[in-house]
């Protein structure tokens, strides 16, 4: 058992140590404007935590992230369900959803900027646009495989419309929507940082921007480190949600 644990975690730990060492050594032998050693980054990180700035900016970013993602889920999931229930609607709209899913939404940021200016609402719109189409697209892809027979059987057992939604449409479509939600989490993160970079500067995006403008490379790496942790954590969350709902599909 113990041996197993060693075999399992030794390469992992070792590679973390090697990575940290490479960063430290690389940082010491290059100009401070390019790369600062890990130790300095951690010192800077601690300063940012101590001053409360990091917590404040992270919370501000997370508020943007969750409002945008929440709106996307609130719009995307019901719309996806409707597309599953009414195939005619789905056939009319699936092409356009696919096109919007494949279009890089970042390209719309300059338009949003000149129309809505600065503030919280345009940034939420950016996150929303990044997040809503993966949810819709995956739900439509799932809805395509919802067999008409399932609905016909339910109908022939005199199922009410509500019972049909509750027992057939929702259980069938939700797992696909959750796959969409996982993708949406990744895209919403990109949208969050893009909004904070290119619209009014707030949150972790602002932390990065000010650090790079002040040539505070330590602060820059500290902020990126926080975003990496945030990104990995949120992706894990997304995968956990997807697996939870996808149990029957496997």
């Amino acid at each position: 058992m113990r041996r197993d644990l060693v075999v399992r975690y030794a390469p992992f730990t070792l590679s973390l140590i090697v990575g940290a060492a490479l960063w430290e050594i690389g940082g010491r032998y290059t100009s401070a404007a390019f790369l600062v050693p890990l130790s300095e980054t951690l010192v800077r990180l601690e300063q940012l935590v101590q001053s409360g700035e990091l917590v404040r900016q992270t919370l501000s970013s997370l508020a943007l992230f969750f409002v945008g993602l929440g709106l996307a889920a609130l719009v995307g999931a019901p719309a996806g369900l409707a597309l599953a229930r009414w195939p005619a609607l789905r056939r009319a709209l699936d092409l356009y959803i696919m096109i919007l899913y494949a279009t890089p939404m970042v390209a719309l940021i300059p338009f949003i900027l000149s129309l809505m200016g600065f503030g919280f609402a345009p940034k939420v719109l950016v996150v929303f646009l990044f997040a809503v189409f993966p949810i819709l697209y995956n739900t439509v892809e799932g809805a395509r495989s919802l067999k008409p027979e399932l609905i016909e059987v339910a109908r022939s057992f005199r199922s009410s419309e509500w019972a049909l939604w509750r027992d057939v449409v929702m259980p069938y479509t939700l797992p696909f929507a959750m796959t969409g939600l996982r993708q949406a989490i990744g895209r919403a993160l990109v949208g969050m940082i893009a909004a904070e970079f290119f619209l009014s500067s707030t949150g972790l995006g602002q932390l990065i921007m000010t650090a790079s403008q002040n040539f505070d490379t330590g602060g820059l790496f500290a902020a990126i480190l926080v975003i990496v942790v945030l990104g990995v954590g949120l992706m894990r969350l997304g995968r956990a949600i997807e697996l939870h709902y996808a149990r029957w599909r496997v």
């Binding site: 070792l14 009319a92 919007l100 494949a102 279009t103 970042v106 390209a107 300059p110 992706m235």
Partner: protein, 260 residues
């Protein structure tokens, strides 16, 4: 898909056309009724289309951006395939490298922009670096999945015929992980396009992203939107191309969710 499943899909062109017309009319009416006059409308875009398509700066911007995306994708293919094969076929590499690759994949790629512009300056090299960073890891993750999913029997047969490791790699592992590779490439192309546009926003170097930024700032939204349409077209076109290639050249492959 069976023929029975395809048949009811055939008369779908008509509803699609109606829906498309409804979207266009709604867009035109809403913008005319409620938005400032510079906002893009379908009619305005159609009017701007011939002018923009004949515009030398636009054509040059398109060539630059697409060239950078293609160059970045080639580099990312090399990096991603090597990383992916390593992680997929070697347990040690998997344990040592996978969390780095996953972290790089999960992090929103645009956070590297300030860093690469610090390293490479406000130049095309910064854009290229962003594209490579954005594209490499989705390929690596997918190739790793593919290399791991190679049926053990294939490799056992190869070994029992005394095939060398190298031949097994090139003649069994690589072809067998082809569908995963293509799925990764599709993801990577989308991410590379986003990376190029974002890098141009950030560094203000010439390209389609900068074309959009500049024209929307001088309130020529119709012109700028032509570039957005073009980007969307590339996104959709590449998706369609990869789907077609998968169906045409890898007909033995069925995605796990049965939709292909």
């Amino acid at each position: 898909m069976t023929d029975a499943a395809l048949a009811p899909d055939r008369p779908t062109m008509l509803p699609r056309l109606y829906a498309g017309a409804a979207i266009v009319v709604l867009w035109e009416l809403v913008v005319r009724g409620f938005a400032p006059s510079y906002v893009a409308t379908p009619f305005g875009i159609a009017m701007a289309l011939p002018r923009v398509l004949a515009d030398a700066t636009f054509l040059k911007a398109t060539a630059i951006t697409l060239g950078a995306v293609a160059e970045g994708l080639v580099i990312a293919l090399a990096i991603g395939t090597v990383l992916g094969l390593l992680i997929g076929r070697s347990l040690v590499a998997d344990r040592a490298l996978r969390h780095y690759v996953n972290a790089c994949y999960a992090v929103p790629m645009i956070v590297v922009l300030p860093l690469v512009s610090l390293w490479f300056g406000y130049t095309g090299a910064a854009r290229l670096a962003t594209i490579v960073f954005a594209a490499s890891f989705s390929i690596a993750v997918n190739v790793a999945d593919g290399a791991r999913a190679v049926p053990r029997d294939y490799l056992e047969v190869a070994h029992s015929f005394r095939s060398s490791e190298g031949r097994a790699l090139f003649e069994i592992v690589l072809p067998a992980s082809m569908p995963y590779f293509l799925a990764g490439l599709r993801l990577a192309a989308g991410r590379a396009l986003i990376a190029a546009v974002v890098a141009e926003f950030f560094t203000a170097i010439p390209g389609l992203g900068y074309f959009i930024l500049y024209n929307s700032r001088v309130f020529r939204h119709n012109d700028a939107f032509v570039a957005v349409l073009l980007l969307g077209g590339f996104g959709v076109g590449f998706d369609a191309l990869v789907n077609y290639a998968t169906r045409r050249y890898l007909p033995w492959y069925r995605r796990a969710d049965g939709d292909n």
